[in-house]
Symmetry: C2
Subunit: 481 residues, 2 copies
């Protein structure tokens, strides 16, 4: 709701506005925020159908004790609510629909030209990704030298920021983009801090950090597709300690009325993901062999959010082949985890041009030039085809067939409905699959050619099946009858 | 030299024969051995040109104090002497010629039919391998159920071995095969113990083990192409401790007059390769990222002797693709180490036959069916082309360009003569190569297609070169002028 209030002084600091929303015995307290020009807003995301009432509280009389009510109707088709942790190591929307993250990365896409942002959205519409890692603050780094169209804080003529005030236009712009992603069914994994900075956003005081966090939370928590990533490479932010992030994590946990997902990404030194305010691991690593330890220790989902990028840069982190990028998705999924894509692919025609300012998907958005998205989409389809019911990927076959990678998918903890095998660089010419209880059909999967070839017959118990004897193949079993 | 002596009693235990060989002020003491039928032998490998004299010592009068002399002439062309550790982490023949191990594995080839052994030799003649891992004792394991043509110890009608005597025919047969390998320029990495046993050879007493070792050493140390591998998977030999292997290592060190290379291979628990009697690491692992630690700690060469096998078995250890096997050679070489091949490839036409007794290169020898040997030979040629002089692979570029793999080869510690880069699964579209001092030509390497394509021009300093933007490529720089 939009409210009118004082514009004088510094309303960002001086006006304390909250509202309580009630449905039956339930109460949800929400922060309001100043949106500039004497306008105040309170945003609320109801999680139940019914007539909600509200009442504001404020230290300014004009905004105190405003009351009203509204009817929350059933969610529209295709709207499943925010994503939560489900079954310890996995995710589901609030309505129970399984969510398998297949994310990508466009760190600074909202800080590019409008035309480029629109191109990014068109690309995303045709891409297989359902989560996007993106930064609130603009980015200063290799290949990232442009000034953003908006700044988060007002600046004087010399470019000095006034960290005691916000620029509502900046935040409204990001919100528009989060809304655009929501329309595409994409979760916004919003990175609140990062070290790639030349404007001073990485070196604000604790008071300024906390005010910034509360402002972002008041504005954006009501977006159902938002996730909070406390930082990218938090350990490279030399002005902050892990203790600072402990405090800020707790601020986010306390001020977000909806409990959106919370994680933190590191460079070399991992944050302690065992802290209760961390909902899932956000790894910069491709050590999938460590996944069983992470899963067992943290009892949380683990997302390999940075496994190097598909690309052709002269940087180790930015020149994986497309096949290797897609393979890392398979390895992550087979390890019971989730993986995030990124692409740093120079246009080959301009790759040697010293004066070029390349547009790289990883940070700017734009177009995808690599080959992995097709293969990633193929895997996503295989994983998602167990339906929209609440699906639990099991570990049974992984334990039994420890020397090959397998994932068992079963609905609501019942018998296995799907078993997915991946042989990576192994190429057995036959394999005796130790199937869970039940009868299954089998389909030979070629992740590189993206083909599914039915194997004649049905299978149960130990199923000895002739294979292609080629590496990087899979097998899908489906329960029948 | 062959000598006549007593045949009665148990000469293997009762007769103690040694000989001292002298050249100028040098003395080498060598054990003789009983070869059956009243025949005794003393074998000696001179390491210097000149007239050597000798004198026997024995507790049997007929063999005591026998004297003589012989002229040791210059080595024949192509004969470089035994292989030694050279420049801390590398190998060279006694004459200083660099030796880059590119080994393979035929554990039980000498225990197969004569026809199969001959086929193995024909295959080796055309293959790129210059080291062979092979067992003294026959093998009892999956796919290994045949009885050997010869047994190392006399057996009674019930198959019980008399471990106090040897079967000279068994050892003479192995010696013949070691000689055959020598003719092919192949080092015999002879495995003295292993756990794959149904005859009792893995559970002899310490006294029996030591007598066996001394007998093998007396017989075979004079073969210039022999290496001692104390065991395969020593930690799976439940009747022995690491302490037993300490003792046996020291026996080998003491009784081998020529100091042939000594290593030990493990399954899960590594032997302490820091012991002074271990000349080099023999790893069952493909963790090439651990190589810098091993090299720095042990200050010895490190050989990745078992990195899984190229094949198509339904076993994780036996179904790598050929490309992946060859890639592991590149990774090992780039890590400053050496790698050993193995192949467990079922004939595809008979792969599902439950009654087949497949012939697998890894243990039986026979033919190679895989695709890696060609690629391995291509790499060997690149590495060896620095010539037959004493070559020192340097670490300089590896340190400078830590995010990509490079090896610098320089003769006698002088300026770099070759720099070899490998990009593994990275695919930069250009790269700025930080070259060592000097001027170089460049050649783009495609390890999969096995092609070398000259890059026009010469290069020095930081050489920015356009690349293919495809994974699994390399670049070779050669010093010019």
């Amino acid at each position: 709701m939009g409210l009118d209030g004082p514009a004088e002084g510094n309303p960002f600091v001086e006006v304390k506005l909250t509202a309580v929303f009630r449905l039956g015995t339930r109460e949800v307290v929400v922060d309001g925020f100043y949106d500039g020009g004497g306008k105040y807003k309170v945003r609320f995301m109801p999680d139940a159908v019914g007539t909600w009432s509200y009442r504001t509280s404020c230290n300014v009389k004009a905004l105190e004790g405003l009351e009203g009510s509204f009817a929350a109707t059933a969610a529209l088709a295709g709207s499943h609510g925010p994503v939560r942790v489900a079954n310890v190591h996995h995710f589901a929307y609030a309505d129970g629909t399984a969510f398998y993250p297949f994310g990508t990365t466009c760190y600074a896409w909202v800080h590019q030209s409008e035309a480029l942002q629109e191109q990014t959205l068109r690309t995303l519409k045709a891409a297989p990704f359902n989560k996007l890692r993106m930064c609130v603050f603009p980015k200063s780094y290799e290949y990232n030298h442009n000034e953003p169209p908006f700044y988060p804080f007002p600046r004087d003529a010399a470019g000095k920021s006034d960290f005691s005030r916000f620029n509502p236009e900046f935040f409204a712009h990001i919100e528009k983009r989060i809304g655009d992603l929501r329309e595409l069914g994409i979760e916004a994994d919003l990175i609140l801090f990062h070290p790639y900075d030349r404007w001073g956003y990485a070196t604000m005081t604790a008071e300024e950090d906390d005010r910034y966090l509360r402002y972002v939370l008041a504005r954006m928590s009501a977006y159902r597709n938002i996730w909070w990533s406390m930082a990218n490479e938090f350990d490279l932010m030399k002005a902050k300690t892990a203790g600072d992030f402990d405090r800020m994590f707790q601020t986010v946990e306390k001020q977000d009325p909806y409990g959106h997902l919370r994680s933190i990404h590191y460079s070399l030194v991992m944050y302690d993901n065992g802290h209760p305010w961390v909902t899932h691991g956000s790894m910069q690593s491709a050590k999938f062999e460590a996944a069983p330890t992470y899963l067992a220790d943290w009892k949380k989902p683990v997302m390999f959010d940075e496994v190097l990028y598909e690309g052709n840069l002269n940087r180790r982190w930015g020149n994986l082949s497309g096949d290797e990028m897609a393979r890392r998705f398979w390895l992550g999924v087979m390890a019971g985890c989730y993986v995030t894509h990124g692409e740093t692919m120079l246009d080959p025609d301009a790759a040697m041009d010293e004066n070029a300012t390349p547009t790289l998907w990883w940070s700017h958005g734009g177009v995808l030039r690599g080959t992995s998205p097709g293969q990633i989409g193929f895997l996503r389809k295989l994983v998602e085809e167990t339906g929209t019911g609440h699906v639990r990927p099991g570990l049974e076959a992984q334990e039994k067939a420890y020397y090959m990678n397998a994932r068992v998918y079963s609905r609501d903890g019942k018998d296995a409905e799907r078993v997915l095998y991946y042989f990576d660089d192994h190429q057995p010419i036959w394999y005796e699959f130790p199937l869970p209880k039940g009868t299954f059909t089998a389909e030979a999967i070629d992740p590189l050619a993206m083909t599914v070839s039915p194997v004649p017959g049905t299978f149960s118990g130990k199923a000895k099946i002739r294979l292609a004897g080629r590496p990087f193949r899979g097998m899908m079993f489906r329960a029948v009858g």
